[in-house]
Subunit: 278 residues, 5 copies
């Protein structure tokens, strides 16, 4: 009976949102850093796999290993928190100040993890910036340029709106993966349930703020013609906002409203089940 | 012992049919909307995967992620309800008025979910209707035209009959997937059991009314030469009726008749097992 | 502990053989009809997948979805019964008359299911016999002709002997799949255990009477140059006899003899475990 | 908690070695025959898959279905017994005479199963030796010739030593697969754990005596230019000895020594757990 | 409920670190030898698969079978111990002298296992150094040369730094795989959870000291133009140090700090759960 039915999933979403908001800043930072690092590694592997196979579905099918680790090891993921923590606030189980602290600290962790991973991989790929070439360097450069300059080419209004829309669609799928990961009490079940929604967002080349905190600076470090301002203006900021909108309004809130039964209506054991990790 | 034997599956079909008919209209609408949205996302991914690989089996093998989410998260799916709710009515566990209300409200949810998802994806793909090109746009246009104009070419009688027949064959497989999803109490088991029947209907290009509520308008929004009347007359209406016939008469009813043992003959625990979600 | 050890598997074979022989004729007929229908759908998908990929292993790997449904939903399958019911008769747990009734009624169900499915798919593929073309029509025609005319070309004695031999080898693998499906109490385990033996028989193009009750008439309905007598003489009858021989003498009986421990030696709970479905 | 930890695996190895040595000769013979037959079928499928795909990894990935059936159904496998039964003798839980009886009788079963399967498949493939052609006949002929004449070309000393060495490396992997199959109490877990070590030996074209009891005579029956003496001298005898050495000295004994804790140190339930079947 | 939540995983990391440090030197040596042998076999298969498919992802996807066996059978792996044993020392549950003994003895086991496996495979591949050719020999030679001479070409400082950095990145992923293997109590779950992080390090061609103890000498034995000093200076020594740094500082320590809750805060059953094997 490893299946977890929807009302318990909804309760688990609230419990996780609550416990995530209560975690010490130090552990939020550390878990956010590890998770940024892990997602970066998965991105590297996925980009290489897509380039080598000449078929991006191959990359998309290995990519979810990163989010799988994040979910299984109960690390912090800002884009997932975008859906879970506001629900806890809505039910009065977390304070708004905790929400802001959590968002800020986890984001800081992602920045540290993404940049550190970018630095290490860039050093390794370019043999300490003395040379180096290959599919992976090309892939990182292309990705970084597409994710910034392509929006810039559309002009301010359309470009930023498109990045925002891409972020909205993306995080609907990411949070769907996170929620699917709660539908099983077995590790295999969690992996199987979250895999394809996550593969989908990567395959459709939608914008995920945490991945971009690695992939754009990594591309810049190995030679992409992208500046820090380009990165932040044309991608990072609008995508972050889009992720917040998509995660909360397209998935977290509708699922909550569609399944939420009042606390007192739940059987005692479900309501008291502690949410560990994730 | 995650396997669920047929008599309990049959009881679960009835219990789900009953509980679905009793759900509040608001939750029916919301769950139908989410499920329309999720099936749309899976369709987008499957079309792109088929186009990119040049082999539609690849698309068919990723497509079931949508129905998997619907089943695992216990969302509402009209084509599944076509088989389950009438059985509950037949046994006197649901009223006919509830059946009509459920069918209507869930359909409304699918319309909202499908059109909203079509709008968002079309805006993103066409960069707000300013341009955009690629495999996915081509795939959506081709799909929308094949699913309407190809029937129109056959003339009124043959065209509509063929759409109806395609809908019948389709929903036999969809409901088979839904029922297979009840044969396990583990999330992995549910996924494994429902996967291939769902892949089969997509692979054989059979007509599924809920998918079509997204894929035809999405194709129209990105440039398919299809009108609203074409969509409704040559596809949506006959397919919906075909889905109802196929789901109930080719699968729901035969399975019910083949396995139904009277309530009082079942061991007490099986009969009292509550059907949650799905 | 989802693994089921061999002595219990043997007991389960006997228990299923017994309960299958005791089922009402009406339910035998209905379950045989559904199972003929389901195997037909799997065959259609497998033929198309093999044709599209140009590699028949691809078809073979999706084909077992049909038998998987039959096993998981506890439907009746004549070729499986060929091994199970005679064992129950041998142990005095079923009567010979029940065996004949079961074989006859389930066969009738397969005939109805196979022909109905052939009719629906042929109508759909040929657009009500007005046209239609494609890989699937070619695949069905080729299959129907190879499965009949190729034996005819060898002459009466060799042709019929070869069909018989092919039926023997085939059903050794089919029953192996059915028995493997009993080695687990989890749905995933059943699926994983039965998958490859079933894929093997399809891949090696061995003759399975129930599949042929669909695939040969379907081929005939879409244009194969095969007559009803060709179908029955060169394939259906010898294959059915071969399936009986292979299923019972190459698998059912040897496995029974190799593992059967007397009823009284088994722990009470194993001996009393009811066999539900399958 | 389907995972079985190493100390219990070691105890299970001993318990199986013991019970295998105590089985009646009749059941040893029958189980050895079935297992020879099943491994032969898997070999046929793997050879065809490798030939058709032009990539032998494809064949290697389907091949383990044979050993999987042997392990799951608790059949007898001489090469596995090479590791397990001597350990039971070493601990005084089985007699040396039982070991010799077991080895001899199971070998006889493999000979019967392999030759019978070879005969049936050769008759079918060659249409009763009247013709027949195709990838599978070519594959069987090539395999039989490579597995004998290639060693002969190297001369007596090097050829036989190489066959022996290949047998040593092979059975290290086969027994690894058998032991991995004991690390889970779930059927899926057993399958997943044993799959790749078995695929590895087939992929590396290492020599397995039981497979060769089918594949070489089958090749000879469909036209390979190999004599019975070639088969036995250049392959069967040295490979059998190599399998014994590799199975016991490279895997069975080291694993036993690395994990064996004295019987009395184990918790009572582990020590008393009966070993059923393989 | 096969999922193991992060706080228990952290406790398991400490318990394993402790029990590994307490194991007798004889068992450490034997387990290290077996594990070196097993990883070598997996490397051979992965290299051949990558060469044959012309796509190194294929090799990477079969490679984790080696580490899977190591984790499931509870063998010793130096690179995993680099993360686990220091944590046990840090918490005062193991002595520093035990750490040094463990590291040294397990390394000795890996040297024996790797070289013995290299010798056996080289003898087999080259037909006792009389000839032999093929994809596998080419693959081993290329790998050995790339893993040494490529670093030498960069000069002392950059070359050794790059090997060190590659070792750091590699063992972050290896230890991630080892830790993921602790997140499930089912064998299937362990396999699924550890698979992709291990595939990632192989796919990215990062340097793993234990694999290199086989693959470089094996390459040298079949003809690579690499000397023993090249092997040790340009690869083995810096990679070993990099593995220690990456395993402990990039994964073991951060995960420990991010999840460690004091022993007394844990529920009694989790704290008392014995860590068996691995």
């Amino acid at each position: 009976m490893s299946y977890v039915a929807p009302p318990e999933v909804t309760e688990d979403m609230l419990a996780q949102g609550t416990s995530k908001s209560e975690l010490s800043s130090w552990q939020q930072l550390l878990r956010g850093t590890i998770s940024g690092f892990v997602l970066s590694g998965a991105t590297v592997m996925a980009i290489l796999a897509a380039e080598e196979a000449g078929n991006s579905l191959v990359g998309a099918l290995v990519f979810p290993m990163g989010l799988a680790v994040v979910v299984i090891l109960g690390l912090e993921l800002l884009t997932g928190n975008f859906a879970l923590v506001p629900l806890a606030v809505l039910e009065g189980r977390a304070r708004l100040s905790s929400l802001f602290r959590s968002f800020g600290v986890v984001l800081a962790g992602h920045v540290i993890g993404g940049l550190l991973c970018a630095l290490l991989f860039a050093a390794w790929l370019t043999e300490f910036w003395t040379g180096g070439a290959g599919l992976l360097i090309d892939g990182l450069i292309d990705t970084a340029e597409e994710k910034t300059l392509a929006y810039q080419d559309l002009g301010m209004s359309a470009g930023i709106s498109l990045a925002l829309l891409s972020g909205i669609l993306c995080n609907w799928l990411v949070v769907l993966g996170v929620v699917m990961g709660m539908t099983s009490t077995s590790t295999t079940g969690k992996l199987a349930a979250l895999w394809l929604p996550i593969a989908a967002f990567f395959y459709l080349e939608l914008e995920h703020a945490v991945v971009n905190l690695f992939v754009i600076p990594a591309g810049m470090m190995v030679g992409a013609d992208v500046g820090v301002v380009d990165w932040l203006v044309w991608n990072q900021v609008p995508v972050l906002i889009g992720n917040l909108i998509g995660g909360f309004f397209l998935l977290g809130l509708p699922v909550y409203l569609a399944f939420r039964t009042k606390q007192e209506d739940l059987p005692a054991d479900a309501a008291e089940e502690p949410s560990e990790g994730l």
